[in-house]
């Protein structure tokens, strides 16, 4: 992808201006929409590589716009919103948002999230994933290596790690992780998740308290990232 195109849907001119400058300077192409209607039309016409969506639009709720976009748009959508309640964040993530940044945000953080979301788009049919900071997952052998040393993972730990790795850059909610790994009957058993995250971090992180791979998304879930995105 030479110059990825980013569509900004936000009714605040100040924020659009800020995003336009930030994104242009970082070699992205930018298109802007100031309303839900305009945003949906531009998404159809220009087929962007990523959408930055505000939830507080004048003509329609951003949640609704997200749902409409997800009927056909498969590339990353990142929410930018002043709403910081976990209900809103989880709702947006459940409706298909890849990530969620609360305004005011730091532009460095935004760019990191955009890059990691766009990278997750790159075709990846290989049976082996290599992460920049020494982590390797070999799907064909169900083997995980850190700095060329094999790490012994339990079946559940392996499933958890691969689920993360396949969703690099994406915030996975507690409920999503519990449903995917343990099954729908376990979405309220968050104690399992807490314990397994701690175990997995002990095995793959250099310092489990300052994780480089599995990041805590306060109140919401976890996000797997590769180091060079930081």
């Amino acid at each position: 992808m030479s110059q990825p195109l980013i569509l900004v849907i936000d009714d605040e001119a100040q924020i659009r201006k800020l995003l336009e400058i930030t994104l242009h300077t970082s070699d992205f192409k930018v298109k802007e929409a100031a309303s839900a209607k305009e945003g949906l039309a531009l998404a159809k016409n220009s087929n962007p590589d990523l959408i930055l969506l505000d939830l507080g639009l004048p003509d329609e709720s951003g949640h609704l716009v997200l749902t409409k976009l997800r009927e056909w748009f498969t590339k990353p959508i990142i929410i930018l919103s002043v709403q910081s309640s976990e209900e809103n964040i989880i709702r947006a993530l459940d409706n298909g948002a890849n990530d969620y940044l609360v305004k005011p945000f730091r532009t460095g953080e935004l760019l990191a999230r955009i890059r990691s979301s766009i990278r997750s788009l790159l075709p990846n049919n290989s049976t082996k994933l290599n992460f920049t900071n020494g982590l390797e997952i070999d799907y064909s052998n169900r083997e995980v290596k850190k700095n060329n040393e094999v790490i012994k993972l339990t079946a559940t730990e392996y499933d958890l790690l691969t689920l993360f790795a396949k969703n690099e850059g994406r915030v996975l909610t507690h409920q999503y992780l519990l449903r995917e790994i343990w099954g729908p009957g376990y979405i309220n058993q968050s104690q399992y998740l807490r314990v397994f995250i701690a175990q997995l971090r002990k095995k793959i992180e250099t310092d489990p308290n300052k994780p480089e791979y599995i990041m805590t998304e306060s109140r919401v879930g976890y996000r797997f990232i590769a180091k060079d995105n930081l």
């Binding site: 005011p104 807490r194 314990v195 995250i197 300052k210 805590t216 306060s218």
Partner: protein, 360 residues
């Protein structure tokens, strides 16, 4: 208005108490009726009615006025043990007694109503005072960073060619600092209004306290800079089931407060363990501690230490207290013997020592 202790009793109880009181006084008078004339008894009973008026609602007082009049008539005015009164003077006395007792009751009640109004007025004035403190604090703490931002951007726009690169950089740094400060103030105000509206309903979910502490430290890494921070979570500390977001905010405020107010070399230590189904978190630093005479007040809304520098709204610690109390917990502040402050938080919680091999 605490002088009317019996008003908290239910109305039937008040009727009973006031009537019994009149009857007790009457009985005492009756025992001594050989020594005191029936006219003196009238005065004693009037005093008794006045006393009931000080303690009870209007209706029980009126009842005691009537009861005392009847008792006086029946037991004391000659002919005793009949309600009939023979002399014109006694009839007049009886009527006057009745009127005085009623007026007495009515006046007493009126006085109390006036006192009540005065108290309401005082409360209103206190609220207004608090509101003014809020406005003063707010306008200062919000306008200072806003002034910085407006002034610095003015300079950058109108004098760009005259400013040295160093000065430009300095102005941009000030804008950045001011806007972060502004963001924090707004966050505090939003949290305060959540507390004030009683809207906070803790959402309990399992969490790992060690992970939570490092989450907060990660959020505060810019503010903490090179401050030495120690985390000591006891081995085998169970999972707790509490509101993650509220505890994050509590620790955020405490650690941020410490980082802002202690010398660079001072160490911040965060300890956590489980004590009898309670989550115990201790945040301590090796800074200067709090002035002993102000320790009691630091959790009060808008209270700021006498020597505090600008940048705070006096809300941070009251939010800490409010959030902890919303989870039925407690927070205490002490100074260490060799200086430095210790905040101790205790919150009752469900706990889980989940065995790793349960669900593989």
């Amino acid at each position: 208005m605490e002088n009317f202790p019996f008003q908290k009793y239910s109305l039937p109880k008040q009727y009973l108490l006031s009537t019994v009181f009149i009857l007790v006084i009457s009985t005492a008078c009756y025992l001594f009726s050989d020594f005191i004339g029936y006219k003196v008894v009238a005065l004693i009973l009037l005093v008794a009615v006045s006393l009931t008026a000080m303690f009870f609602d209007i209706k029980p007082v009126l009842l005691s006025a009537i009861v005392s009049a009847l008792v006086w008539d029946f037991f004391f005015i000659p002919q005793k043990f009949t309600f009939s009164i023979s002399s014109a003077e006694d009839i007049l006395m009886f009527l006057m007694y009745f009127v005085v007792a009623l007026v007495n009751a009515a006046l007493m009640t009126k006085i109390r109503q006036i006192e009540k109004k005065a108290k309401e007025k005082e409360e209103k004035e206190n609220t207004l005072k608090l509101y003014n403190t809020l406005l003063n604090s707010l306008s200062h703490e919000l306008r200072t960073p806003i002034s910085t931002i407006i002034g610095a951007t003015d300079n950058l726009q109108s004098m760009a060619d005259k400013l040295s690169e160093l000065n430009k950089h300095e102005l941009v740094t000030q804008i950045s600092k001011a806007s972060l400060q502004l963001d924090r103030q707004v966050g505090n105000l939003l949290n305060m209004s959540r507390l004030e509206s009683g809207y906070i309903q803790p959402k309990k979910d399992w969490f790992d306290i060690n992970e939570l502490i490092y989450d907060v430290l990660n959020q505060l890494k810019d503010e903490l800079g090179n401050h030495p921070v120690h985390v000591a979570v006891k081995d085998n500390t169970p999972l707790f089931k509490l509101d993650y977001g509220l505890i994050v905010q509590v620790l955020h405020n405490l650690i941020h407060n410490a980082a802002e107010n202690i010398p660079k070399y001072a160490v911040i230590t965060i300890r956590a363990n489980c004590k009898q189904d309670k989550l115990v978190i201790v945040v301590e630093d090796t800074g200067y501690g709090f002035p002993e005479d102000e320790i009691e007040r630091v959790f009060e809304k808008f209270y700021r230490l006498k020597n505090s520098k600008t940048g705070g709204t006096g809300l941070g610690l009251s939010i800490v207290k409010g959030f902890i109390e919303a989870m039925n917990g407690t927070v205490a502040l002490e100074n260490m013997q060799d200086g430095g402050a210790v905040f101790t938080i205790e919150i009752p919680s469900e706990i889980s020592y989940i065995n790793l091999n349960v669900k593989e």
